[in-house]
Symmetry: C2
Subunit: 457 residues, 2 copies
């Protein structure tokens, strides 16, 4: 069985759904020069180390360092790993864990978890949730990994101060080093220390650095995602190998060979030429469902921009809205709209070819009409049949669909998928003519939040 993921775009082409909604050869031809230029710019950005995410899988030293540290902490047998992180500091870990750990992971026994800790990702400042976590995860048997690239994210600072007080109160200052790991970006030498930098130094805490040239939403393969992954027993080498395999495919200059560029081109054209304001990601697999949230940040925050790449045009207001759906569940919720509502969406179906379990559907105790087609089949086949039905119905309704097929879900295929989507996003930024690596509007919220907290100006 091949371990390569496959990317299909035929149902987004005019040959399948007509030129009003499908991408024509002429559409693609028209952006060929832009694609070439964008390719060269991305290569330059990579070579000059502006876009660090491209090369993370080659950093064997970091992989080994993270693995070594995780091994040290694993020996201490924590029941709980709590991530204090928001946005790019949490979504990668959620994605890896829900794809690669068993369903109902936190309900399993320690033996069933193969000795790995339960996982809690604190990505909000809801007081009820946070207080409940502190009760469910007593400091004594919990390892906290606090993650903030800047070192001073307000939500994470608030969480950290609460955890710090509990740790000190229950276990004493000397225990901090055994319960707190700090993942933070390099310290700005010209500025004063942030909370995370200060605490790390003051208590000699273990920790990891987020590279300066990797933004939060591209950081899943830095220690931001790797340390939690290693704590959960995931295979970091296989993650790196998956990235390397996709890197090879995504280094090709032409959309004929480069699946990331092909997807970026089609999404860009669908948005700008065919009125597809919305990009739906719909995994047909529970374990892949959280990828859609990770991608939602990647796509929205990278492309939702009012300012052009050269800074000259401040009224672009560009970007495509990424939304999340789940097959088959959302067939009973969203598909009515996708099929009969405005033709304003392009869909990406994520397919898991082989599940870990094959689940037979038994015979009914009596002959019930209309069930013949189910009995003696498998739930696996039903899932596949529904997926195909959705794709075919969307095609009939002239709605563009792309597919990404994972032969199996494991570290290698998942890393391919995430790396693919990162390169796709970087290319899309170029095509949309925006900086895919900043997030200027978020600053305004920070200022207003501080004002609302009563900060003196």
């Amino acid at each position: 069985m091949t371990t390569d993921i496959r990317i299909h775009v035929d149902r987004a082409r005019s040959a399948a759904i007509g030129p009003e909604h499908g991408i024509t050869p002429r559409d693609l031809k028209a952006i060929e020069a832009d694609l070439k230029k964008a390719h060269r710019a991305l290569r330059t950005g990579r070579r000059e180390k502006h876009h660090g995410f491209f090369d993370l899988h080659k950093d064997k030293a970091t992989l080994e360092h993270v693995q070594t540290k995780a091994n040290e902490f694993r020996v201490r047998d924590y029941d709980n790993l709590v991530i204090l992180g928001i946005g790019g500091s949490s979504l990668g870990t959620i994605t890896l864990a829900s794809a690669l750990k068993p369903p109902y992971y936190n309900l399993l026994s320690k033996a069933e978890r193969q000795g790995a800790p339960r996982l809690f990702v604190m990505d909000n400042v809801d007081p009820d949730t946070f207080a409940a976590m502190m009760k469910v995860c007593p400091p004594r048997n919990t390892l906290y990994n606090v993650i903030s690239k800047s070192g001073g994210t307000a939500e994470i600072a608030a969480q950290l101060l609460i955890v710090l007080e509990a740790l000190e109160g229950e276990l004493g200052k000397s225990a901090l080093k055994d319960h707190l790991v700090v993942t933070v970006g390099p310290q700005d030498k010209r500025a004063k220390k942030t909370l995370l930098h200060d605490l790390k130094e003051r208590y000699q805490l273990d920790g990891f650095e987020v590279p300066a040239n990797v933004g939060g939403r591209f950081s899943v393969f830095t220690p931001v995602g790797l340390f939690p992954a290693a704590m959960l027993g995931l295979d970091l080498q296989a993650l790196a190998a998956g990235c390397a395999a996709m890197d090879k495919r995504c280094s090709k200059p032409s959309i004929a060979d480069n699946p990331a560029y092909l997807r970026a081109a089609i999404q860009f054209l669908a948005n700008t030429q065919k009125g597809k304001a919305i990009s739906v990601m719909m995994p047909y697999s529970d374990c892949l469902r959280d990828i859609a949230d990770w991608y939602r940040q990647l796509w929205a925050e990278s492309l939702g921009k009012r300012t052009s790449l050269d800074g000259q045009n401040n009224d672009l207001f560009t970007g495509q809205t990424p939304i999340k759906a789940l097959g088959v569940t959302d067939q009973h919720s969203q598909l009515q709209l996708y099929l009969e509502g405005p033709n304003d969406k392009i869909h990406t179906i994520l397919e898991q070819r082989n599940f870990n379990t094959t689940l037979r559907i038994p015979q009914a105790p009596s002959s019930v009409p209309g069930l013949e087609y189910l009995q003696g089949q498998t739930m696996n086949k039903l899932m596949a049949a529904e997926r195909k039905a959705t794709i075919d119905a969307l095609t009939e309704a002239k709605r563009p669909v792309m597919r990404i097929v994972l032969p199996k879900v494991n570290e290698h295929t998942l890393a391919q998928l995430l790396y693919l989507l990162e390169v796709e996003t970087a290319m899309a930024g170029r095509l949309f003519n925006v900086d895919a690596f900043d997030q200027p509007a978020v600053e305004r919220i920070k200022v207003l939040t501080r004002q609302n907290m009563g900060e003196r100006k």
Copy 2:
């Protein structure tokens, strides 16, 4: 403290964000006659019992029956309640449970759960998840509630046959009655029995009826939602009282007094006059996050239609795409797009005024610059400050925002909210000129699925 939820739309008006993106008095005036006509049609539909959802809270007999049955089952001390249901058969229960039960509910001890069972909602046919559930919830201490209005939903039939085999195999046929409760619509007398109807009769199972005049997505206050709620120890009377309170407000003919009509009018105008193709629901509260999924089905499946209400126009392709976000989490993911991307969204912020917990943010061990505004404050205040920052930033960017404020989250306020959104959707259906109560496109998927399963034609 008032127990009424409050609805604010001022930030969606032209006075706040200008007439290009905000609703003007003239816009509202222009649909006054349509609103009146729609109001009369809805009143007629209610009186003639086409729209059963309006009056569910008045059905004291059903409330009492459900409560009595739940009390009987509660005594038997199940560890797990498993819902076999999809779409409208599951989303209501998920919404009620995550809003009204404590965070990390399934991880709490039985004492902490006040004796109520853990909850598992099986709303997919993922073989890995389903097999994992069967292991985590052994039949012996599990009550299964299978829910399908038609009685023959393919996904639910498949789940049920697997559960049935496990129950019979482990506990014998005689135990079925103690472990399986059937919630199903009335049997079609002209058709042959469906699987659920057949099993219910064959094994004399307990169960409940879904009223024929209530569609799945409007069924949360039928036994579909009520029985699981009662099993979890929720207060059915308070749910009914919340519905009644909102019913009173939503029976008024004019948008000046009727918050459901006001919201429907603004969403309709935002969509058709101001280019807001997308409606974002963004709760600032973890426990309210799943309401957005429930609403997503309600809004999408009710309004996403190609055919007009009178059946004459088959090319409407109408509907607004509902999407889910979570504050503050998605400030670090989606807000960049909402603020600087295309101005194609209208936002509804859900506010929880009082949390159960007040969580103080302690002082840092040393003076760290830039943290002064956090220390000694509360996480509650931070949540509120961020929420206000988001609303203000959206307003500055001329993006329409509505707010719904819950003084506290409990059965009474939550029921108000759900009832409000149901009436809003019914009114919106009229304004969009579609049948808000059917879902014709879903049928096509069913046909294709059966074909893909190899059914003989």
